[in-house]
Symmetry: C2
Amino acid sequence: MLRQLRPQSLRSPSRLVAACTRAYSIQANAASTVKLQDIDPSKLSILETTTPKELVPPTELVFGRTFTDHMLSLEWTASSGWLAPRITPYQNLSLDPASCVFHYAFECFEGMKAYKDTSGKVRLFRPTKNMERMNKSSARIALPTFDGAAMIELIAKFAALEKRFIPDARGYSLYLRPTMIGTQRTLGVGPPGSALLYVIASPVGPYYPTGFKAVSLEATDYAVRAWPGGVGDKKLGANYAPCIVPQLEAAKRGFHQNLWLFGDEEFVTEVGTMNMFVAIKNKETGQKELVTAPLDGTILEGVTRDSVLSLAREKLAPEGWIISERKYTMPELFEASKEGRLLEAFGAGTAAVVSPVRNISWKGNLVECGLRPDQEAGEVAQKMLDWISARQYGDEEHEWSYVVPGQ
Amino acid sequence: MLRQLRPQSLRSPSRLVAACTRAYSIQANAASTVKLQDIDPSKLSILETTTPKELVPPTELVFGRTFTDHMLSLEWTASSGWLAPRITPYQNLSLDPASCVFHYAFECFEGMKAYKDTSGKVRLFRPTKNMERMNKSSARIALPTFDGAAMIELIAKFAALEKRFIPDARGYSLYLRPTMIGTQRTLGVGPPGSALLYVIASPVGPYYPTGFKAVSLEATDYAVRAWPGGVGDKKLGANYAPCIVPQLEAAKRGFHQNLWLFGDEEFVTEVGTMNMFVAIKNKETGQKELVTAPLDGTILEGVTRDSVLSLAREKLAPEGWIISERKYTMPELFEASKEGRLLEAFGAGTAAVVSPVRNISWKGNLVECGLRPDQEAGEVAQKMLDWISARQYGDEEHEWSYVVPGQ
């Protein structure tokens, strides 16, 4: 009853990456044998609005609620590849109700910001990281990939066009939301034959306008965000809608966010929609350690996470800190907290940069995370915000900051 | 450093259900203290098309590619609840590019069919099950719930209006796709303040126009579809896009579908986007057993799955079959196949009803699933198709068949 086939390789993340790459090739090849067009910034057309919006006063800005005058759009088809990019007035999308984005969540996105430096120049922050991640996200769900450098060129032009929306004050920026959706108009579950990549922009104010405000978390023990072999490390829409109920539950009991755990060991993974960092003093040696969960497929590859780790290795390690990407558990934090060795904890993400954590509700205990009652941020969180901001706003010239050309 | 809080209940699926229900109440309550409107079929308005479509010849129908003249739509807002239902000509949706459905996969759907019986009456099949499941799906992602009976009344009216699209031949039907999407136009990750529930319809032919065609599967060992505490038991868009790459990978190696496994034990869970059934002869007693995986939170609660189980208990159990919802593994199937005890295997879903499986590629072996080379379906699969079809088309009068009133 059995017939021998070639041996299969074992479970491995690299095998999935290879599978994704191959899948995209299949898709492209199936549609056409000619070379598909990649994104070509030289073909950009710009149709400027004739009814510019009135600016919202900076202090009234709410994250992602108001948008700029224009949007950047690129269509893709399996037979032609990427068509000519267009900047047009911000406008509704008109989509067939059978479009696969509405049924099977063919969608991924990025969150990035444009900053205005003291000389008035618009700068992006590590856009290469966002484009790399977006390509990984899209490949994982059989959406097309693209030339990241070409896309950065277009995003830079778009951000420069919308410069007037960025208030001239520290802490303000233009939140950019590259989004890719599958637009095929059939209900069969298969790789989309067409897609739309678009970028919209929303001016945003400082996350903590009156200084840090430490948050209280509730550890979620009845729902799981991500798992090995799943898609929790990709920035897919699919990872977000299921997060709302646990957030609402935490809010109902007076907590600001929920904390995602994994497995019987209760590994700490992410906080709400941010990566999580903790600073712990070693029980034996007293040495300080900055810890975040490793990229094992269940953790989003956060750009801010990467920036925090890089800065920690550059500036904290020489002071004697150990910088660790390793698994850590709630019992470990509980013990460290009891013994006064949990120095601080914070979330890291594009919106807040860092978000200090006051305490974590877990198994009937409130695990305090090292802040005094009158203190809203730990030393590392404060330093990270300062260090990262300095590079975002160009106070410190650094390769992470991409100055939009032609200004 | 610690403060005692109330004890938390342990991990349990019922706790998550309760959490979802509560979350929805929070959302509704937050928006308004007045009682929100539920769906009211008496408020239905119908705007008929002035340009009826030409019918596609039945033999040229492709699943989910062509649609009927109209669509049914209901808007929901957090402040008012469900607004008046509308049947309008089939038309594009016009949505703000910031709409939360594009970014965070606020979307869930159902798959159901309308059949024409021998007297020409339109019938739905177990629509209550679909509405129950859709309410569970929507609650899990903080979308609104609704009165299922009221929605069935509307879907029935819509199906009756589109009657001319259902060919007068056995095996044909009208595939109905209720879909709910979040339409809030902001990028903050939170419960949508507005939503759209719509139903589109696509005439479909028999899945196997020339009789069954058994499929070959590839067991996927590098990606995992669902996890306990995740959302794999809900009909969310989020569960579908991540399935494509493993399907394309299987197809590349000549297999029709992939088979999803779970855990180190290699539990068999689902096949592509269908539930999976196997018939095994007991090693000791020789007794026949029909097995499918239990609803442990990782398995979609298929309506066809439930129909197969009910019919098996009604008709196969009296013949001495054991009907089991239990976990089973690839090693168990491998051993049963080697020993000639794996009688048959099939997928179960709305599109195909049953889809017989010839073999499964697993760890370098091709596990044969009990079919002779000249045989395309096992005995149970054939009987199930006949039994279920008889109730779908009203040959057998049964409570599962809902005759659209007023015909």
